[in-house]
């Protein structure tokens, strides 16, 4: 049986203007005439894996010709023998949504906020299958039930904002499946979702794929997810295909150095290396030495761990934080975001804080730094920092304390002022707190920190937009460290980074901790990363601490049901049972 979708030597380039107005082409897919080729067989899930800039999404969008106008495509995309790149526009419009359907990353922005869910599912039915109103509505109801939306009769008239993120993604899937497509293109469909929701959506996709015999092209940056859902994998890097193969082969014996590095640099749940492997280490190896075990050196366990005699830096007791919500015309309601959190943080230790979105973990971090407006809601409890209660401090004394607890935010593209040079960004905190004798002295210190976090000293005169995400996060870390803090709150500090860059930043954080004796509060949704970083883990749900124990104990013997669900949801690559099988064994219970 021939594959319905064949991509032969696909190349995509974008026409861009540089700063001086000269037009030039940027190759997004394919390098130097060598394009991307792969095929998607019937009833099979093929995954395109790669980091940002690998061209995986551009490839997928080129298949359905949804690229911006300045894109130039070459090569052939054969869909049942027709070349889609040459097909007339009207033909493509008939195909899209009918034979080939797409699900995108962010359901929140992919659904039209002013139309009901039912109207949006019915639209392709009207358009492609020429169904009447009543028939389309009945079909939409069936589809909603099929993708596991509870009470579809009520939800069909709901607007997107009335549904949760997971439900929105289910609606997107129902829309995609409305016209019984043969090929489903899923572009990072679970990236914007919480781990437990991600697990449900993966199971749903796997089940639908198996039941309907779909061909699915699944695009993801996460090898763990891919290993669970796909049968075949195409690994891409910088616009070229590095390796192709079945999931089992690729995970068991990767041939390409880059694939190996990708597999190695991701933190895992079942072991805790001293340092993570970085892609450059692996790629730097000579080609002949690829057979050498990659993680050999890194398996030593951290010698510094489990030292309970370190001095206590931060002691938090009964911390509560609420927000006022408006209700009615003049009334207000108290929303308890954080309730009764207590922990002790010792010098050189890391406390991991885990939870899904809305669990209050970020609010907890910001409350420690008093970054909330006083008018936003009441605050209670004690935060003892070297014997001073941070919550009882007068505003004047707060500045001095603020120096010693610093924070690194999630999004490296947002956290630096785009109009400040790196030098200005690093010198400003020292100027505010009067660190360093004079301006040249501060600049020297800033330069030292830049080198320390692994950047060139000549970065001082550049602007944030000239750096990559990983470099920006290093700059943000350097900015916090210029104040020589005792405690660093890392709020999802590596969540927005590619796996390989994530490994580098995590290693950097570990090195700095060993060197400076920093205490970290590591807030993350990713248990594998927390496992690598943290000595203790605190699991939060709805503002409360559900479980708080040593990392190993917690992972090995989770006491709480919620913790168990979180651990189970972590995608770990191909295991004994793929979600497809699991899903067929036990039908997913619809979640509200």
């Amino acid at each position: 049986m021939t594959a319905p979708l064949k991509v032969e030597n696909l190349q995509v380039a974008f026409r861009l203007h540089d700063a001086d107005g000269r037009a030039h082409r940027v190759e997004a897919v394919g390098r130097e005439g060598q394009g991307v080729s792969f095929e998607v067989p019937a009833n099979t899930t093929v995954a395109l894996v790669g980091e940002s800039g690998s061209g995986k999404s551009v490839t997928a969008m080129a298949l359905v010709r949804l690229l911006p106008r300045n894109a130039e495509c070459a090569g052939r995309v054969l869909w049942r023998g027709d070349d889609l790149l040459q097909a007339p526009r009207a033909h493509m419009q008939r195909l899209r949504g009918h034979e080939i359907a797409c699900v995108f990353q962010d359901p929140m922005s992919s659904l039209n906020p002013v139309l009901t869910v039912g109207a949006q599912i019915a639209e392709p039915l009207h358009k492609h299958l020429l169904m009447g109103r009543a028939a389309a509505r009945a079909r939409a109801l069936e589809l909603l039930a099929e993708v596991g939306i509870p009470e579809p009769r009520q939800r069909i008239d709901a607007y997107p904002h009335q549904l949760s993120g997971g439900q929105q993604q289910r609606v997107m899937i129902a829309m995609a499946l409305a016209c019984e497509p043969q090929l489903l293109i899923a572009d990072e469909p679970t990236t914007a979702l919480d781990v437990t929701i991600q697990r449900q959506i993966l199971e749903l996709l796997a089940r639908l794929q198996a039941q309907r015999g779909l061909s699915m092209l699944f695009i993801s940056h996460d090898l763990g997810v891919v290993g669970e859902i796909a049968q075949q994998v195409v690994v891409m890097r910088q616009g070229t295909v590095r390796e192709r193969g079945t999931v089992a082969d690729l995970f068991a014996s990767p041939k390409d150095a880059y694939t190996k590095a990708l597999l190695a640099c991701r933190p895992r749940l079942d072991e805790r290396p001293r340092r993570l492997t970085v892609i450059d280490d692996v790629l730097a190896e000579p080609a002949g030495a690829v057979a050498a075990p990659v993680r050999e050196v890194d398996l030593d366990l951290d010698p510094r761990r489990a030292d309970d005699d370190d001095p206590v830096v931060l002691q938090v007791d009964g911390l509560c934080k609420s927000f006022w919500l408006r209700s009615g015309l003049f009334g207000r309601m108290e929303f308890k975001a954080v309730q009764d959190v207590r922990f002790t943080l010792r010098r050189g230790h890391t406390l991991g804080v885990v939870g899904e979105s809305g669990s209050g973990k970020t609010t907890m971090g910001l409350t420690l730094l008093r970054l909330h407006d006083a008018a936003s809601g009441p605050l209670a409890g004690r935060v003892l920092f070297h014997g001073h209660d941070l919550l009882a401090l007068a505003p004047a004394d707060r500045l001095a304390m603020r120096r010693r607890i610093q924070i690194v935010f999630q999004n490296p593209y947002e956290a630096l002022n785009p109009r400040f040079t790196i030098g200005q960004t690093l010198v400003e905190p020292m100027t505010i707190h009067g660190i360093g004798a004079d301006a040249p002295g501060r600049e020297r210190r800033a330069r030292d920190w830049l080198v320390r976090v692994g950047l060139d000293a000549d970065a001082m005169h550049k602007y944030p937009h000239e750096f990559s995400g990983g470099q920006r996060q290093r700059i943000a870390i350097a900015r916090s460290l210029t104040l020589s803090p005792d405690v660093l709150v890392l709020d999802e500090a590596v969540a927005a980074l590619d796996v390989s860059v994530q490994a580098q930043v995590l290693n950097l954080l570990k090195d700095l901790q060993d060197e400076l004796g920093l205490a970290y509060i590591f807030i993350s949704h990713d248990l594998a990363v927390v496992r690598f970083m943290a000595d203790d883990v605190m699991v939060m749900k709805d503002g409360r601490v559900v479980e708080h124990r040593r990392t190993e104990t917690l992972l090995a013997h989770p006491q709480d049901d919620y913790t168990r669900r979180l651990i189970g949801a972590v995608a770990q690559g191909p295991g004994p049972a793929t979600p497809a099988q699991r899903a067929l064994e036990r039908p997913t219970a619809p979640r509200p």
Binding site: H17, L369, F420
Partner: protein, 363 residues
Amino acid sequence: MSEMPDFVSTSLVSTLADMAPPRRAAGVWRSAWRRFRRDGVGVVALAVVAAYAVLIACTGSGLVARHWQDEVGVPDAPPSFLGAPARATAGAAAPASAAAAAPAALDIADVDPLAPRYKEWNERAAQYHAQARPVAASLPFGGDRLGRDVLSKALKGTQISVSVGVLAAIVATLIGATLGALAGFFGGRVGDLVEWVYNVLTAVPEILLFFAFAAVFGRGISTLVLIMGLTGWTGQYRQVRAEFIKHSRREYVRAAEAIGASAGARMFRHILPNVSHVILVRMSLMVVGFIKAEVILSYLALGVATDQVSWGTMLAESQNELVLGHWWQLAAATIAMAVFVTAFSLMADAWRDALDPKLRGQR
């Protein structure tokens, strides 16, 4: 009047200089300037605006059109390119024909008892020599009712009108941006208070406010600037407020708070440079709006003082002249204003495109 123009013209020049990329903040401004240079229409518009700026500098410093009030031509002198005025030759012929007809007519002096006195008065009057200056029969772009050079008036009027527009825009921007920054950054009570002021002010029709302020302050350039500044800040306020609300929630501002930056530092050192392009573009659009408002106010006799000239007063005068077929004053004021306003709008538009980060790389 004598000090104002210098200050005005320099302020305009410095405003234009601000729009050019300052050296220190090279990253953002230089790349904006590069994008701007690619926009052909924008560059031409900028050149036109720069030419006006030079012109205004010249009139302001008295190099050009200093004597615009002198009556250098015959009343309603036509433009030179139309040739010698027909009326002037007709006027010269009339006395001659009257003299020729006189002997035939009855000499009224024979019966007039006052005739000797008239004669005496005429002799006495003849002793005084009125030093009538020679006036031109035609002027480069014609003359007005008093024989003043329309071209000089247009040049001087350009200076007044543009400087009023620019100054009013600066005043309105200062008010609007400050209030917008406060309301957007602090929100809560402060935001509510400013929002109330804004709502009350916008609830009154603008023209009524103009009349009210004009009645209180009297006529003059400074009044105009004040009126338009005090009533025109609302648009700038809304936009700056929206930008500050957006930015104050962004992580780089949070990060600044985490390192201990004060509220003022966050507002003005961190957020302001990030919204300055919005303010700048809005301000250039306001300049155009205020120039048009000045024209309307001067036309309604609420504008500049009577011993000053602006595009608006020229238009008001030309209304009567037009009935007699003297179109040149209307044409001069209209052309000067239309060219400037169009060029300035196009330039502001090009700046907006060049400075908008969302449009980057798409053109």
